[in-house]
């Protein structure tokens, strides 16, 4: 665990036309950084999740499996990744 978390340089504003290298999402209630331009499918891969077993909600809208690869996340997006667990 780093003692000091450096903000990514690309978030600085001196080159406003350049997109940031990483963006921040809220995934399952936790702040997470992902590369800019990442798709939801890439987000699942990053967490080692099988897209057939996980349902993705992006800003409270369900994104169906065929659309995961083509849906890019943006800074500040809220993502929920859910699956089936034991229950009665």
């Amino acid at each position: 665990m780093p003692l000091i978390r450096l903000r990514p340089r690309a978030r600085c504003c001196y080159l406003s036309s350049m997109p940031p290298e990483v963006i921040r999402l809220i995934v399952n209630g936790e702040s997470r950084e992902v590369p800019s331009g990442a798709s939801l499918l890439q987000l699942l891969e990053r967490f080692d999740l099988d897209p057939r077993l996980v349902v993705v909600e992006l800003n409270r809208q369900i994104v169906r499996r065929p659309a995961l690869a083509g849906t890019r996340v943006r800074d500040g997006d809220q993502v929920e990744l859910v699956h089936f667990v034991g229950g009665g």
Binding site: V27, N28, G29, E30, R32, F47, D48, L49, D50, L53, V54, V55, E57, R60, I62, R64, E80, L81, V82, H83, F84, V85, G86, G87, G88
Partner: protein
């Protein structure tokens, strides 16, 4: 099952099932015990819950690795939801994760008793029915609520025997019989069964099935209890269909009174 007794199928929301026992997947000590209990129960429908993936997990296997969707019909629940909006959100996620449009709708109104929030339950039922769901609504043993759920389009109404996870058994057989006698949709008793005799007595009230989780999962030997529950549900059902003898306050001899020695 012997040739002397052949039950009709249980029909819910356009599907038919041979087993009248629906079992849960929660609280098992390990996946192998759950798989063994499911097989011993003879159930075709198993319930599951929808929750966030643990992002920091160490490559643990998900529930679906242990549940064959070809063998079991997955009935997702909305357990833990306290409002209609939350329940509808969970139901839609479940439909996307699952393989069917069935939902076990729970909208809880009280944390200590886990009794249903009836207004929100009815609201969620109407929304989900309009959205194409087959709603199996967990409710209390109140006839008027059960009738309202049926009117709202529920595919089945699921009154409790006693509070969820309590194992107190069937507390109000009269109320359950009343609901069963007045509804046309299937009545599945959901929650409260503690042991095999509870399941048998519940089925003897004439209900269409029972849903249980804790009674099996928390038994000392869940596989053996699942077997017992299967027998109890079948026995109770057969006894109901057979029609019990009348209760009498006096003894009536089983052997002839005539022909005794003088």
């Amino acid at each position: 099952m012997s040739a002397a007794w052949q039950d009709t199928a249980l029909a819910i929301g356009g599907r038919t099932f041979r087993s009248r026992l629906i079992v849960g997947t929660g609280k098992y000590r390990d996946h192998a015990t759950m798989v063994g209990a499911h097989a011993a129960s003879g159930a075709e429908v198993v319930t599951v819950a929808v929750r966030r993936v643990d992002l920091d997990r160490t490559k643990e296997e998900g529930l679906l690795y242990h549940l064959d969707p070809k063998r079991y019909f997955l009935l997702a629940n909305t357990a833990g939801c306290y409002t209609a909006d939350d329940a509808v959100r969970y139901a839609r996620l479940a439909r996307e994760a699952g393989f069917n449009e069935f939902i076990k709708l729970e909208v809880i109104g009280d944390q200590q008793t886990l009794l249903p929030e009836v207004e929100e339950l009815l609201k969620a039922t109407r929304t989900l029915v309009a959205d194409g769901f087959q709603v199996l609504a967990y409710t209390n043993e109140d006839l008027v609520t059960a009738l309202k759920l049926q009117d709202a389009g529920a595919a089945a109404v699921m009154p409790l025997a006693s509070p969820i996870g309590s194992g107190l058994g069937l507390l109000n057989p009269f109320a359950i019989r009343t609901i069963k006698s007045r509804l046309t949709v299937p009545v599945i008793v959901d929650a409260g069964v503690g042991t095999a005799s509870d399941a048998c007595v519940t089925m003897e009230q004439g209900v269409d099935g029972i849903l249980m989780n804790t009674a099996i999962a928390e038994a000392r030997d869940p596989v053996a209890m699942a077997h017992a529950m299967r027998l109890a549900v079948e026995a109770g059902r057969a006894a109901y269909v057979a029609g019990r003898m009348p209760r009498r306050e006096v003894a009536v001899p089983s052997s002839p009174a005539k022909g005794m020695l003088g």
